[in-house]
Symmetry: C2
Subunit: 298 residues, 2 copies
């Protein structure tokens, strides 16, 4: 019993006429009759009632038809599945990201990817840049999203810039001049003296450095008055009036009473985000992902 015989059985069952079924199968009638008979013998089951003038399914034949159709349909999908898998339209993309990315860029990116490649399972995991370098080397992830480090990239890894994210200030009532709140923006110098609520450097070194650069541009050293390791906590502490902070603009969606998001006038600090991956053969899902990055987001 092979797929050819199943196909022939279905044709005869649908036509109930050996001649027409043979025609549909692009063969002649005699070998088709022989083949069906051989099928019946190998199964030990009569599938058709035959008279000299007509053919009809037996009860068992009718039941078998359903199951045979099912198998044939699935079998005929197999070549397409193989091609789609090879083209990176199926499978799995294991993607790591630094926590900052999860607030704005990641959701959009993953959304676009899932729309474009609905049959690729996206396996997301948060990890620091260093963890991502390791994971890539060990082949545990396919790509990572990190904040572009000043230091040179590892030579074995490829990278591509993603849209950079501007930083905005988040300030509590206490530190926000009413005119700045009204304008929605502020000169950095007017809030530079305020105590800073921020990550310890090891939690988000590249992010930390971007903010440190901003302070340096105004001739100041970055001094953290209150540390927190989660963005939500930082904003909460700002809302509680403990100080100001600098967050990606996409965080403005997360409103908190007592905290105001203010654009910065003058030199705007930005978070430069990029994708990293290990070049190599046979990473179809990764290829799909990178192709998506080249596609305009419409």
């Amino acid at each position: 019993m092979d797929l050819r015989q199943i196909r022939q059985f279905i044709a005869v069952a649908e036509e109930l006429h050996f001649g027409r079924a043979a025609q549909r199968l692009n063969m002649t009638q005699p070998p088709l009759s022989m083949s069906i008979r051989a099928l019946e013998e190998s199964l030990g089951v009569q599938l058709f009632h035959r008279t000299r003038k007509s053919v009809s399914l037996t009860t068992a034949g009718a039941i078998w038809l359903d199951h045979a159709r099912q198998v044939l349909t699935e079998a005929e999908r197999l070549p397409a599945i193989a091609r789609r898998a090879a083209r990176g339209e199926m499978g799995e993309l294991r993607l790591a990201f630094v926590s900052i990315a999860s607030y704005s860029l990641l959701p959009k990116l993953v959304r676009r990817f899932r729309d474009a490649f609905p049959d690729v399972r996206v396996d997301l995991r948060e990890a620091t840049s260093d963890m991502q370098f390791e994971a890539l080397a060990r082949g545990e992830i396919d790509a990572g999203i990190i904040i572009r480090p000043d230091e040179a990239f590892r030579p074995s890894l490829s990278h591509r810039a993603l849209p950079s994210e501007p930083l905005v200030a988040v300030v509590p009532d206490r530190w926000a001049p009413p005119d700045a709140i009204a304008a929605g923006s502020v000169d950095f110098e007017r809030i530079a003296e305020a105590p800073l609520v921020f990550f310890p450097r090891h939690v988000a070194p590249a992010y930390y450095d971007a903010v440190a650069d901003l302070y340096a541009a105004y001739g100041r050293a970055l001094r953290i008055h209150q540390e927190a390791i989660q963005m939500q906590t930082i904003i909460g502490l700002v809302a509680a009036g403990l100080g100001i902070s600098l967050v990606p603009r996409s965080m403005t969606g997360m409103s908190r009473s007592g905290a105001h998001y203010l654009e910065l006038r003058g030199p705007q600090p930005r978070i430069d985000v990029c994708v990293i991956w290990k070049d190599g053969p046979d990473q179809p899902a990764l290829t799909s992902f990178l192709a998506l990055l080249d596609t305009p987001s419409a």
Copy 2:
């Protein structure tokens, strides 16, 4: 791409070694290599990474393996399905029954059948004897359960007796002597005078006649004081004190305050139930059903 190639692919994917895979497939290595290569070409997809020393699945190959396994497993079930369908272990049994049968015999019978043949869908429909004769003739049902008529059976139909069901009296407080209630049984003569709640003859002619025979045995004519066309209604009316009735013993499970079920002393009327069907070839589910009737119910 046929099942043979799928089987070969799975063997190589599992062994990751052409030699061992060939051994498992009871063939030699060279044709296996050729076959896999041909498979890859027909799919247009590379399924294996090959070096001179080792074989491994490509990403697409790994994805395809899951789907190929699925198809192969289902395909390998097909012969068994055909055999089971031919043996009447799969498919459908369209069974009609007269309403009286639904209270005792039918549930047990269907239960046993479903236990013995879980993959046969049982399609049940209530119908009078006459409707069943018609339906059998038209091939709309496979078998029917009726009350054995006195008249001869239709010659084209076969039949077999089922365990007969004794009738018991159901009487309200008003008509039940306290000693009978205590004993759980009564001489029919003591309640024969009570008004009778019963079916009109056309609803259940054979049942009606069985009860009429009982009355005749005591030299009385059956006289119905209150008609109802459903068993539940009859028992409800009895419970309400409108009269007595005679019901299959299995109805005693349906207790109703105010109504008492009493065995009848002396000549016991019984309902003779039987299965009818139209003999013919290629009715595997029917054959299973009839075989079950020969099997002691354990």
